[in-house]
C-alpha cells in the first residue's frame, strides 16, 4: 500500500500564503514521512487554485513521471469543474487526479492527515490502462445539399478525405460547386454503420452494388428530403383531408388529374395552365399537418409574390397562402411578408384541419380562418403544397442503419439541449441542417460548419487515447440478456462472442452507468463509481 501511495505526485497550493509557505510545506511533508509515506514528487505551486497555476503544476509533475496527481489546496482548488477541465486538457484521466480540501490555518498535522486520506483514496482508485484508438482521416458526408456541400468543403479544406453520399442522381448544385478531391457516390444511400468512432464501417448501397467505406466520422445533412409526388398524394389521402365533391376519398389515379403540385414545381405548372379564364386562383398550402420550418414560409412568400406580380397581362392572378402561422422569424422575412401582402397575396391563417375537395377542374380548400374566426372555402385553379408540412421525419432506413435516435417528429437527433447543434447519441456521428430538421439556409450552413469543426476536433488528434475506465462487464456473471446493449444511449455496448458476454467500447462509452443500472445480473460496474464505493458512502 505504502509503495502505491508513494507513486503519487503531490501539488500543494501556496497561493499568497493562504495555505502553504515553504516552511509549512516542509512540516507537512515531515509529518507525512512520519506516517511512513514519501510521495514521488512534490510541487509547491504559486497558485494552484487558478487555471494557469494548475496547468503549470500538472505539466511539471506529469513530466516527472507519477501516474497520479493529488492536489491539495483550499476549496477552490478542487472545484470539480476546474479539475475535470484540467484533466481533459492534459490527457490526465479523471481517475488519476484527486483534490483535497484543506482549511487554512488548520496546522501541518491536520493538513498531513487530510493529504494522507487523499493519497489513500487516490491509490485505491484503479490505475486505468489506456487504449490507443486509431482515427481514420476520412469523413463520410451524407447528403449533398447546401449543408452537405458546406461541410464537405470545410472538411476538404481542413485536409480530410471526404466521401459524399447522396440518394439523388445529381448533387444539388451540379458538379461545379464540388470541392476538389472529393469522392462522390450518387444514387446511393447509407444502409448501415458498423464499428465505432475512429473506424466506422459504412455500408453504402450504390447503383453498382454494395460498398464498404471505412471512415473516422460521419456527418448527416439530409433531412426528410421532401416527399416525392406520389407520396405527397398518399400523404394527403392519409391525412384524411382529400375528398371528391361528394365527400368520398379520392383515389390516387383521379388525384393525378387534379392540379396539386409540390411548391417547387408550382411556378412552372402555373405557366403551363390553359389561359381560358379571367382570374387564375392559386393556393399555397403550408403547415398541412405539422408546423413547417421557416424555410417553407420563405419559399412560399417568394413564390406568392412572384406569381402575384409577374402574371401575364390580361390574366389576373389571385394567390392565397394558407398556413397556421405566418412565420417571419428571420431578419429579412418580415420585409418579404410585407412585400407579398402589398403585391396582393391573401393570407389565410388556418385553425384545425384543412379540407380539400375536387371541384370542376380545380380544388376547393375549406378551412377555418383563425383571424376572422370564420369558415372559408376557396376554389383554387391550382394548389402548391409543401411536402414538409406532411412529415419532417428522417429516412427511417438511415436512422435505423446509423443507430441515430430520432426526436418526437422523427427527425434525427434527440431533442436534447446538450446535443445542440451537431451531436447525436452516437459518438462520431454528427448532424447538420436538414439532417436535424433545420431547413433555413443561413442556419443550416452555420450548422454544417459547426459539424465540420466538431469532426476536426475529433479527428485532428489522429489517435485517441482512451482510458479503460468505461463500464466493465464481468463475463462470468453476464447472462447475455442484452439489456445493456439495448439501453445504451450511445450504442457503446455490444456482444463479445469470444467471451460470450456483453462488452462496452471504451471509445464510445461515456461512463454514465446506465447499463450498470439496467443489468439484472449486476455484472456491470463503473470503475469510478463501484457499487461498493456507493454503498460505503451511504453507510
Amino acid at each position: 500500500m505504502k509503495e502505491r501511495l508513494c507513486e503519487v505526485g503531490l501539488a500543494l497550493c501556496g497561493c499568497g500564503g493562504a495555505l502553504f509557505s515553504a516552511a509549512e510545506a516542509g512540516k507537512v511533508l515531515a509529518a507525512l514521512k512520519g506516517a511512513g509515506v514519501a510521495v514521488k514528487q512534490v510541487l509547491l505551486s504559486q497558485s494552484l487554485c487558478t487555471a494557469a497555476g494548475m496547468e503549470e503544476a500538472v505539466s511539471h509533475l506529469k513530466d516527472q513521471g507519477p501516474a497520479k496527481l493529488l492536489f491539495a489546496g483550499c476549496s477552490s482548488s478542487r472545484r470539480p469543474g476546474l479539475l475535470a477541465n484540467m484533466a481533459a486538457r492534459t490527457c490526465l484521466s479523471p481517475g488519476a487526479t484527486y483534490g483535497v480540501t484543506l482549511r487554512p490555518g488548520a496546522g501541518a498535522l491536520l493538513h498531513a492527515a487530510a493529504i494522507l486520506r487523499g493519497l489513500k483514496a487516490l491509490a485505491a482508485r484503479p490505475a486505468f490502462q489506456t487504449r490507443l484508438i486509431h482515427l481514420e482521416q476520412r469523413v463520410l458526408v451524407v447528403g449533398s445539399g447546401p449543408a452537405g456541400l458546406q461541410s464537405a468543403r470545410d472538411l476538404r479544406a481542413l485536409g480530410y478525405e471526404t466521401v459524399l453520399v447522396d440518394q439523388g442522381v445529381e448533387t444539388a448544385s451540379g458538379s461545379e460547386g464540388l470541392p476538389g478531391g472529393l469522392i462522390l457516390y450518387n444514387g446511393s444511400r447509407l444502409a448501415a454503420l458498423n464499428g465505432q468512432l475512429g473506424s466506422f464501417k459504412a455500408l453504402l448501397e450504390t447503383p453498382c452494388g454494395n460498398r464498404t467505406v471505412s471512415c473516422g466520422a460521419v456527418v448527416i445533412t439530409c433531412g426528410a428530403g421532401g416527399v416525392g409526388r406520389f407520396e405527397l398524394v398518399e400523404g394527403l389521402l392519409g391525412s384524411g383531408s382529400l375528398t371528391d365533391g361528394a365527400g368520398r376519398p379520392t383515389g390516387c389515379t383521379e388525384l393525378y388529374g387534379l392540379p396539386i403540385v409540390p411548391l417547387a414545381e408550382l411556378a412552372a405548372f402555373v405557366g403551363g395552365l390553359p389561359r381560358g379564364k379571367e382570374t387564375l386562383t392559386v393556393g399555397l398550402l403550408l403547415d398541412l399537418v405539422l408546423d413547417e420550418p421557416v424555410s417553407s414560409m420563405e419559399e412560399a412568400l417568394r413564390l406568392g409574390r412572384e406569381l402575384q406580380l409577374r402574371g401575364p397581362q390580361r390574366i389576373e392572378r389571385q394567390v392565397y397562402l394558407f398556413c397556421r402561422e405566418v412565420k417571419v422569424s428571420s431578419l429579412p422575412l418580415q420585409g418579404l411578408y410585407d412585400e407579398a401582402r402589398e403585391a396582393g397575396v391573401v393570407f389565410v391563417q388556418v385553425e384545425g384541419r384543412i379540407g380539400l375537395e375536387a371541384e370542376g377542374r380545380g380544388v376547393a380548400v375549406s378551412c377555418r380562418d383563425s383571424v376572422l374566426s370564420a369558415e372559408l372555402r376557396v376554389l383554387c385553379d391550382c394548389l402548391g403544397v409543401s411536402p414538409l408540412g406532411l412529415s419532417l421525419a428522417a429516412d427511417p432506413v438511415l436512422a435505423a442503419g446509423t443507430g441515430v435516435a430520432v426526436d418526437g417528429l422523427g427527425q434525427l437527433q434527440e431533442n436534447n439541449i446538450h446535443l445542440f447543434p451537431e451531436l447525436t447519441n452516437r459518438p462520431g456521428v454528427f448532424v447538420a441542417g436538414p439532417g436535424r430538421g433545420q431547413y433555413a439556409l443561413p442556419q443550416a450552413l452555420r450548422e454544417a460548419r459547426a459539424a465540420a469543426l466538431a469532426v476536426h476536433r475529433l479527428l485532428a488528434q489522429k489517435h485517441l487515447e482512451v482510458e479503460l475506465a468505461n463500464a466493465q462487464v464481468d463475463a462470468d456473471k453476464c447472462a447475455l440478456c442484452l439489456a445493456c446493449v439495448r439501453s445504451c444511449p450511445f450504442k457503446a455496448m455490444g456482444v463479445n462472442r469470444e467471451k460470450a458476454a456483453a462488452e462496452s467500447y471504451p471509445e464510445a462509452c461515456r461512463r454514465c452507468g446506465l447499463c450498470a443500472g439496467e443489468c439484472p445480473a449486476r455484472a456491470i460496474e463503473l470503475p469510478l463509481h463501484t457499487d461498493a464505493a456507493l454503498l460505503a458512502l451511504v453507510d
Binding site: 440478456c481 439489456a483 439495448r486
Partner: protein, 222 residues
C-alpha cells in the same frame, strides 16, 4: 427462454414470514434475462423484505445468493452451506429450479418467489411473449413457423375459430390471432394451399397428457 414474474409481495411475505432465517436464492440464467430473478432482483426483494419485517416488527434474518442455474446440481456447491444454514430457501428461479433445489436439499423448505409463465422471447425490453408450449410434437413446418398450439388461444390445428376480429384474438384483444399470423405468413410464403390439408388429431402424449416428460438418450449417457 423460460419467463417468469415475481409473485405479489404480500403473498411472498406471508410465505416466508415465519421462516426465521431465510436464504433468497437467485438464478443466473432465464429468469435473469427476463429480469425476474437475477442477482439484482434478489437484492431488491431482500431489501424490501427486510424493510417490511422491520416495519411490521417481525424478525426475519435474510441472506442473499445467486447461482448460475438452479436446474443443475453442480451449481449448488458454492451455496450448500448457506442453504443448509437457512430455515427456508426462497428460490427466485423458475418452477424447475424451485423443485430441483428442494429435491437436492431434503427436509429444507424451498419456496417459490416467482410465477413461472412460459417459453418466450423478449419482444422489447419489458415485454415478453410466448412462442412455444413445449407440446413435444413440433408442427411448425406445416404452419409457416407460427405455432397454432402456443399462439392460438384454443390451440386449434385446423383453421381459426371465427371469433377473431381485426386480426386480434377474442380471448384477449391485446394478442394477435395466431391463425391470422399463420395465414399471413403462409400467404407470404406462397403456401396457402397447404393449409387446406386436414391436420390429423394431435398426439398429446408428449405434452401435458402424457404425464411428466422424460428424455433418455443413450448415446450421450456416460
Amino acid at each position: 427462454m423460460i419467463t417468469a414474474v415475481q409473485k405479489p409481495f404480500e403473498e411472498i411475505y406471508r410465505m416466508v414470514e415465519a421462516s426465521g432465517k431465510l436464504l433468497i436464492l437467485g438464478c443466473g440464467t432465464c429468469v435473469t434475462v427476463c429480469m425476474a430473478g437475477g442477482e439484482k432482483e434478489v437484492g431488491i426483494l431482500a431489501s424490501t423484505l427486510r424493510l417490511a419485517c422491520r416495519e411490521r416488527g417481525s424478525s426475519l434474518e435474510i441472506e442473499e445468493a445467486t447461482i448460475e442455474r438452479q436446474c443443475d446440481r453442480e451449481f449448488f456447491d458454492p451455496v450448500k452451506a448457506q442453504v443448509l444454514g437457512a430455515d427456508a430457501v426462497l428460490s427466485m428461479a423458475c418452477g424447475v429450479g424451485v423443485q430441483f433445489c428442494s429435491e437436492l436439499f431434503e427436509g429444507k423448505r424451498v419456496l417459490p418467489a416467482l410465477n413461472t409463465r412460459f417459453y418466450g422471447t423478449t419482444v422489447q425490453q419489458g415485454l415478453w411473449s410466448e412462442r412455444c408450449a413445449g407440446c413435444g410434437t413440433c408442427v411448425l413446418d406445416r404452419f409457416g413457423g407460427v405455432c397454432p398450439v402456443a399462439r392460438c388461444a384454443k390451440s386449434l390445428l385446423n383453421g381459426p375459430c371465427g371469433g377473431a376480429q381485426d386480426g386480434k384474438c377474442e380471448v384477449d384483444k391485446e394478442i394477435d390471432c395466431g391463425w391470422q399470423l399463420i395465414y399471413d405468413r403462409m400467404s407470404a410464403l406462397g403456401l396457402l394451399d397447404s393449409l387446406m390439408e386436414i391436420q390429423p388429431v394431435k398426439d398429446w402424449s408428449t405434452g401435458r397428457d402424457g404425464g411428466p416428460g422424460r428424455i433418455r438418450r443413450q448415446d450421450v449417457e456416460l
